[in-house]
C-alpha cells in the first residue's frame, strides 16, 4: 500500500493528523516532483481546510493546481490541423509524434508527418520506421539540412494533397540555447506562411525534476506552447512536475505516454492522474 493510502486510512479513522504525519506527507509530495514551494502551498491549504475528510482536502488542493484550459486538440476550421511537437533531448518526441499520428489516423483522418529533426543521427529513419508501421507518409529533408525547409515542404504538401492533419517532429534542444530556440521560432513562422499552427505540444519526460518549469517557460517564450505531452508515465516517476507546470504556466497536459507500443498514448484524465499520485507505491 502506498504511503498516501496508509496516511489517508489512518487519518480518516482517527481524524487526528500528527506533525510526523504531515512531515511524511511533505516527503511524499516532494518525491512526486511537485517542488518545495508548491508542496508547502498544498500542505498549507490542506491544513486550513475545514473538510472532515483530509483525503478530500488534499485531493482538492491538487485539483486546484490544474489549468482550466481545454485538454482536447484544437482543430482547424480551414481543413488542415497542424501540430508542432517540441521538447528537450530524449523526452520521447519522435515516439510521441508517431503515437499521436496513429491515434488521429485510426479515427479515420488523413495524417501527414513532417520529419524536421534533421540534426540527431537517424531521427528521420526512426520516424520513417514508425510511419511504415502505421501506414503514413513522411516528408523528409537532407541530414543536417534546414529544419524550417522540411516544415515548409510538409505544410505545402499537406495543403496540396488535402490532408486533415500534419504532425511535425523537431530536434530535441535544451531550452537555454538561444540559437536553437530561435530556430524553433523560425520553424513555426515558416509554417505559418502556408497554414496556421493549431497546436504546439511540449513533450515533457515524467522523470524530469524542477527543470521542467524552466523548459515550459523558455519554450513558451520561443513559440507559444499550447499543451503538454507527459511521457514515460509507465516508470516509477509520478510526473508531479507536470502539475507544477499546469499551475505555474497555465499549460494543460493533453496526452500521456505510458509505454513503447504505438497505442500507449492516451488523453490526459486529471482525476485518474491525481488518484495515481495519491496511490503511488
Amino acid at each position: 500500500m502506498g504511503f498516501f493510502k496508509k496516511f489517508l486510512a489512518k487519518v480518516t479513522r482517527t481524524s487526528s493528523v500528527t506533525a510526523t504525519d504531515w512531515d511524511e506527507l511533505y516527503g511524499e509530495l516532494i518525491a512526486s516532483d511537485l517542488g518545495a514551494s508548491l508542496t508547502d502551498a498544498i500542505l498549507a491549504s490542506a491544513k486550513k481546510s475545514k473538510s472532515e475528510e483530509p483525503i478530500e482536502a488534499i485531493r482538492e488542493a491538487l485539483t486546484a493546481l490544474l489549468s482550466s484550459k481545454p485538454r482536447t486538440l484544437a482543430i482547424s476550421e480551414t481543413g488542415l490541423t497542424t501540430i508542432l511537437v517540441i521538447g528537450v533531448n530524449g523526452t520521447g518526441k519522435t515516439t510521441s509524434v508517431a503515437k499521436l499520428a496513429a491515434n488521429i489516423s485510426s479515427a479515420g483522418n488523413r495524417v501527414l508527418l513532417g520529419a524536421a529533426d534533421t540534426f540527431r543521427a537517424a531521427a528521420v529513419e526512426q520516424l520513417q520506421t514508425w510511419a511504415t508501421r502505421i501506414g503514413l507518409t513522411v516528408i523528409t529533408g537532407k541530414p543536417n539540412g534546414e529544419p524550417a525547409a522540411v516544415a515548409f515542404d510538409s505544410a505545402t504538401k499537406a495543403i496540396a494533397d488535402n490532408y486533415q492533419y500534419l504532425v511535425i517532429d523537431t530536434a530535441g534542444r535544451l531550452q537555454n540555447k538561444a540559437d536553437l530556440m530561435a530556430e524553433l521560432g523560425k520553424i513555426k513562422r515558416v509554417i505559418e506562411k502556408v497554414t496556421p499552427v493549431n497546436e504546439v505540444l511540449l513533450v515533457v519526460d515524467a522523470t524530469t525534476g524542477q527543470n521542467g518549469l524552466s523548459q515550459a517557460k523558455l519554450f513558451s517564450e520561443a513559440v507559444e506552447v499550447t499543451g503538454i505531452v507527459l511521457t514515460k508515465l509507465d516508470g516509477s516517476a509520478r510526473g508531479g512536475i507536470a502539475l507544477a507546470i499546469e499551475h505555474d504556466l497555465d499549460l494543460p497536459i493533453k496526452w500521456i505516454g505510458t509505454g513503447e507500443a504505438i497505442a500507449d498514448l492516451t488523453p490526459f484524465d486529471p482525476e485518474i492522474y491525481i488518484t495515481g499520485i495519491l496511490d503511488a507505491e
Binding site: 516532483d33 529513419e125 520506421t129 535544451l174 531550452q175 519526460d205 522523470t207 516508470g235
Partner: protein, 485 residues
C-alpha cells in the same frame, strides 16, 4: 521561478557576510536556505536533510572555536564546499582497464538518457588517447537505434559492430557476445556496448540487461542519467543497482540549466562515483567528472579550472608561442593577431558557455543569456573584409576603404569605425603594458558588471586553481623575467 542553487548560496552567504559575528540562529537560517535550494535542485529529501544536518552541526562547532575577528562566514562557506565535494564523490575515478584486453564497457539507463550519443563520445574519448575502441549495437528495441549508432560511429571515426538491424529484430544478448568475440579477433582494446533504454520497474527488460551482463562480464557498467532528472533518480538508480548493478555514473545534458541535484542523490544512494559528464551536442562535449568543479559551480564560484583547460587546448602551442615572441620583440598587436584570437576563442565553444564558467556567472546570468553570439561572426566578417595591409596597419583605413569594408562584410560603416576605434585603444593599452605601465583607467576586461563580485570569489586559492594565464600572457616582459628567474 526560483533562483539557481549558486545564486541562493550566494545570497545566503551575502547576508551572513554582512554580519560581523554570527549566532547559532544565523547558521540555522542559512541552513534553511541551503535546504530549500537543494530541494529546488532536485536533491532527494533524505539526502538534503543529512547534508544540511551535517553542515549545521559542523558550523556551530566551528564557531565556538573561532577567534574573534576571524571571517566566520568564510568558515561556514568552506564547510559547505567541503561537504558538497565529499558528497559528490571527492575523487574523479578513471575507467578500470582490463588486465587482458579488451576492456568491456556496458551502458545502461532509462530511455532518452542519452546512451547512444554518449557511446560515440566515450569511444572518441578513448580513440583520442590512442586506444582502438569499437561500438556494439545491442539496442535492438528502439526504432533505428542501430542506425543512429552507426551514424554516430561514422562521425567519430569509430567502427560499429551491428550484425542485426534492430527495430525489434535480433537478440541483444547474442549481439553483445558476438561483439566481444569480434573485438578480440580484430584486436580492439576497448568495447563499448550500447543497450536499449529500460525502465527500472520493467522486470523483463531488467532481466535482459542482466543477461547481457552475464554474457559479456563487463569491466565497467556505466549508468547513464540525465542531469534534468527529478526525485525519481533515487528510485531508478536503486532499481538499476539491484537489477543489473553498475560501477559508475555518467551525467548527461549538463549543458542545460538543470541544477543536476539528481547527481547528489544517486551518489549518496548507491555510493557509485560519477565518472563522466556530457556537456553538449558535439562529440567533443565530454569530460571526466570533477566533483570539486561541480561543487564550485553549484556554489556559484565558477568553473575556472575547466575554462583554463579549454583555453589551453584552444590556444594551441604554436600560435601562442608565436604571439609571445611577437610581444617580446616589441611588434604591434595587429588585427591579424586579433582575428587569430577570435578564431581560437570560438574553438572553445560559445561565448555564453565560456562566460558561464567564470566566477560570478550566476549574477550575470541575464547578460550571458543575452550575449549575441553572432556579434563574433560579424566582427570576424569585418576583419576578414580587410586587406592584409589594412589588418597590419589600421592607420591606412580612410573613408573609402572603410566604406568598401562595410560593403564587403555586409555591415554599416559605423560598425567598422567602432571596431577600429576599440582595436586602436586595445593596441595602445598593450603597448603601455609592455612598457611596464599599468594603463590608467583600464576597463574591466570581460565587462563584468559591478555587482558581479560575489561571495566565494574571494575564497583563498588553495592551489586547486591554475595560474592566471591571462595576466601572464598580457605582460610578456615580466613573464620572460619570471621564467628566467
Amino acid at each position: 521561478m526560483f533562483e539557481s542553487l549558486g545564486n541562493r548560496f550566494s545570497n545566503a552567504f551575502a547576508s551572513l557576510r554582512s554580519r560581523g559575528k554570527l549566532s547559532n540562529s544565523d547558521i540555522s537560517n542559512v541552513c534553511q536556505e541551503i535546504r530549500q535550494a537543494l530541494l529546488d535542485a532536485d536533491v532527494a529529501l533524505s539526502v538534503v536533510e543529512d547534508f544540511v544536518g551535517k553542515i549545521e552541526v559542523q558550523a556551530k562547532e566551528a564557531l565556538i572555536d573561532l577567534q574573534a575577528g576571524a571571517n566566520q562566514a568564510q568558515v561556514v562557506f568552506e564547510i559547505v564546499n567541503k561537504e558538497l565535494v565529499e558528497l559528490l564523490g571527492s575523487q574523479a575515478r578513471r575507467v578500470r582497464l582490463a588486465k587482458v584486453a579488451p576492456t568491456v564497457i556496458m551502458l545502461a539507463g532509462l530511455q532518452g538518457a542519452g546512451k547512444t550519443t554518449l557511446a560515440g563520445k566515450l569511444a572518441k574519448y578513448f580513440a583520442d588517447q590512442g586506444d582502438t575502441p569499437i561500438l556494439v549495437a545491442s539496442d535492438l528495441q528502439r526504432p533505428n537505434a542501430v542506425t543512429q549508432l552507426q551514424v554516430v560511429g561514422q562521425n567519430a571515426g569509430i567502427p560499429v559492430f551491428a550484425p542485426q538491424p534492430g527495430n525489434g529484430v535480433g537478440n541483444p544478448v547474442e549481439v553483445a557476445r558476438e561483439g566481444i568475440a569480434f573485438a578480440k579477433s580484430k584486436l580492439h582494446n576497448i568495447v563499448i556496448v550500447d543497450t536499449a533504454g529500460r525502465l527500472g520497474v520493467d522486470e523483463e527488460l531488467m532481466q535482459e540487461a542482466k543477461d547481457i551482463r552475464d554474457a559479456i562480464s563487463p569491466d565497467e557498467i556505466l549508468f547513464v542519467v540525465d542531469a534534468m532528472t527529478g526525485q525519481d533518480a533515487v528510485r531508478t538508480a536503486q532499481a538499476f543497482q539491484d537489477g543489473v548493478g553498475f560501477d559508475g555514473v555518467v551525467l548527461t545534458k549538463l549543458d542545460g540549466d538543470a541544477r543536476g541535484g539528481a547527481a547528489l542523490s544517486i551518489v549518496t544512494q548507491t555510493g557509485k562515483p560519477i565518472m563522466f559528464a556530457s556537456t553538449g551536442e558535439k562529440l567533443a562535449d565530454f569530460d571526466l567528472f570533477h566533483p570539486d568543479r561541480m561543487a564550485s559551480r553549484i556554489l556559484g564560484m565558477g568553473d575556472v579550472a575547466t575554462l583554463a583547460e579549454q583555453a589551453k587546448k584552444a590556444f594551441s602551442g604554436e600560435g601562442a608561442a608565436k604571439m609571445e615572441e611577437k610581444f617580446a620583440r616589441g611588434d604591434d598587436f595587429t588585427l591579424e593577431d586579433f582575428l587569430e584570437q577570435i578564431s581560437a576563442m570560438s574553438k572553445m565553444g560559445s561565448m555564453g558557455k565560456i562566460l558561464g564558467m567564470l566566477p560570478g556567472a550566476g549574477a550575470m546570468k541575464k547578460q550571458i543569456e543575452n550575449f549575441d553570439e553572432s556579434e563574433i561572426v560579424r566582427t570576424k566578417a569585418i576583419v576578414q573584409s580587410m586587406t592584409p595591409t589594412e589588418r597590419r596597419d589600421p592607420k591606412v583605413l580612410n573613408g573609402s576603404r572603410r566604406a568598401r569594408i562595410a560593403a564587403g562584410s555586409g555591415r554599416q560603416v559605423s560598425e567598422v569605425n567602432s571596431l577600429v576605434e576599440r582595436f586602436t585603444q586595445a593596441q595602445k593599452m598593450m603597448k603601455q603594458m609592455r612598457n611596464g605601465k599599468v594603463p590608467a583607467g583600464m576597463p574591466a576586461g570581460m565587462g563584468l558588471p559591478p555587482g558581479a563580485a560575489i561571495p566565494g570569489m574571494s575564497t583563498p586559492n588553495k592551489g586547486n586553481q591554475p595560474p592566471k594565464k591571462k595576466s601572464r600572457s598580457g605582460n610578456p616582459a615580466k613573464r620572460a623575467a619570471e621564467e628566467q628567474g
